[in-house]
């Protein structure tokens, strides 16, 4: 699993790739929480996520909750089919803000 953070102005784009599972999700969790506390906007690029499990979902949820508390915009972008299926199973597909492109996530009001 790879987790890269890219700066776009005062926003952060967190690019996840590979399997987000019990082994790698703590790393994802830490990265997301840090970005949420430091930035106004966080976009998670999930195009290259090949697998995500309940611990990965939990990391996303925790970051989402933290973002709400600090009024940070938190968006999931390019959610792969596999990841979407998991979000739907967890009935969180309507909870997260999900966009098709990273750019959509960076624009306010999008």
């Amino acid at each position: 699993m790879n987790c890269e953070i890219r700066n776009e102005g005062d926003a952060a784009v967190v690019v996840l790739s590979g399997d987000v599972d019990l082994e790698s999700s703590p790393q994802v969790r830490a990265a997301l929480l840090e970005c949420v506390s430091a930035r106004r906007t966080v976009v998670v690029d999930m195009m290259a996520v090949t697998y995500i499990d309940s611990s990965g979902v939990a990391s996303l949820v925790e970051a989402f909750q933290s973002a709400r508390k600090s009024s940070t915009r938190f968006v999931l972008a390019r959610v792969s089919g596999a990841a979407m299926r998991v979000l739907e199973l967890a009935r969180l597909d309507k909870v997260f803000k999900i966009v098709d492109e990273v750019a959509d996530g960076l624009v306010h009001g999008g």
């Binding site: 019990l22 082994e23 499990d53 309940s54 949820v61 299926r85 998991v86 199973l89 967890a90 009935r91």
Partner: protein, 587 residues
Amino acid sequence: MARSRDAVSRDALAGAPAVGAPVLSDYLELLARLGQDFAASLDVTRTLELALERIAGHLDAEAASLFLLEREDAELVCHACVGPVDIKGLRIAADQGIVGRAVSANASQIVRDVRLDPDFASVVDDDTGFTTRSILCAPMSVKDRRVGAIELVNKRSGDGLFSEEDRHVLQSLASSAALAIINARLTGQLIEQERLRRELELAAEIQRSLLPPRRAADFPVCGVNRPARSVSGDFYDIFPLPDGRICFNVGDVSGKGMNAALLMMKTASLYRCLGKSIDDPGPLLARINEELCETGTRGMFVTLVGGVYDPATDSVRFANAGHEPPLLQHPGGSYTAFPAEAPPLGIALDLVGADGYPVTQCRLDGGCLAVFSDGITEWQREDGAMLGARGLKSMLRELYGLAPVERLAALFARLDPGEAELHDDMTMLLVQRSRARVTGSAAGPDDAGGTDEPVLVVRVPARVGSLRLVRRLVREAARACGCGSECVRDIVLAVDEACQNVVRHAYGEHASGDMLVQMRRDGQRLVIDLVDFAPPVDIARIRPRPLEELRPGGLGTHFMNACMDACEFRTPPPGAGNRLWMVKTIR
């Protein structure tokens, strides 16, 4: 003349004017004092008395009284008075006298000579020998909220008449007093509300703890109760008998609130207690009815369906006392309803004939019996119409493919009003034999022989690092068996979550061990066994949490149940600790 700032006594006012009367030269200071008094004490009465003393002293009146509106604004009652005559407790009609006029008109009144004023009521003077000469009266009100009035009698100094300045002063003092009274009442109300809320929460907690425990996935009876507010008037219960049959009930109390909840808990306890020795629903309901009628229900009653399921014959015996008709859903899709043939419990002793409550017996034949409260059928759809039996049948038909526990969860998710409040408590119970064949022994039909074809056997250390390897192997194996990509994804997710449970929980912190993943193909089904070698787990403590209670650990179990056709703990092979059995049809 210097005056001391002592607390005023009635005698001091009644006697010589100067000595002992308090001086508060600035009426703003008086206001502040009043504000402090009210803030300091919630004893409104005492504070009113104190306030009146200060006001009368400041405006140099011989006597003063404070009236509050009561009996829904029909009466004025004297709550405090100062002066030679004690009229505390005096009640007059709200429009009577000068004080009544002040309140009705919501305007202060100066009466220079009461003999010339037709509204002056001389009743009190006549009784007491006191002579009222002049009156200054100001209503106590805040915007449109009328609280009462303050009346001052007989100005002592000067020409004995109250001036316009006195009127202004009294008006603002009266307004402050009104505000303070309203605040004190509100505070009292808030405290009471908070107390009630806490009691309800406690009651709700007790109720929740009485709900039956979650059982293994193949248990044939399951239920859900969702209260509209903290406490519920609905209930359900499930408990097994020693011979393997299973007792169940769904009940609904007619009232709302605390009383209904208490009756509900009493009925539920009675049922559980008596149900263990009276195993036929007819006599059981009769006995409960006797008890409820004997101890009285204050006009409330309980509708109830109570029954017994026999796993050996896949059949149910039940009785319906005035309750919403249960629905028997046949595998083909049709339904049979069972309307009540007897009245609710708790109304009267002689309403049911000598034979007791009529009992219905029916075979499920693989179908499902749904017992529910009317909160479900009366659930309001977005267009305002009720769900009705028709809507419910349609929903149950749609969700029939899910296992009963999942079906209930899905149904309740659909009936979730979101932010809005529920109108009524909702309870539903399903009786249906598990579709997966249940085996209690290691050598059951699923375990050996037949078309059973082993596909994968892998034993790995139960560590986080092993998960990826297991996922890869399971993915390849499932593909090799002809599973489509969605099917493969589901299987991989379920196995991964199951392995995580082993990794996280099976072995303690300082212990380590292996986990064994086996995949077999049985015709069009893939059967997966996950075995560990840790101490056996208590099934009752592994409950998939309802989705509403989203927490990371619970989500994994939900995924497992949602992705696989069946998923349950089974007897492990000799030497092993726990065995989780999962099956998925190849698609």
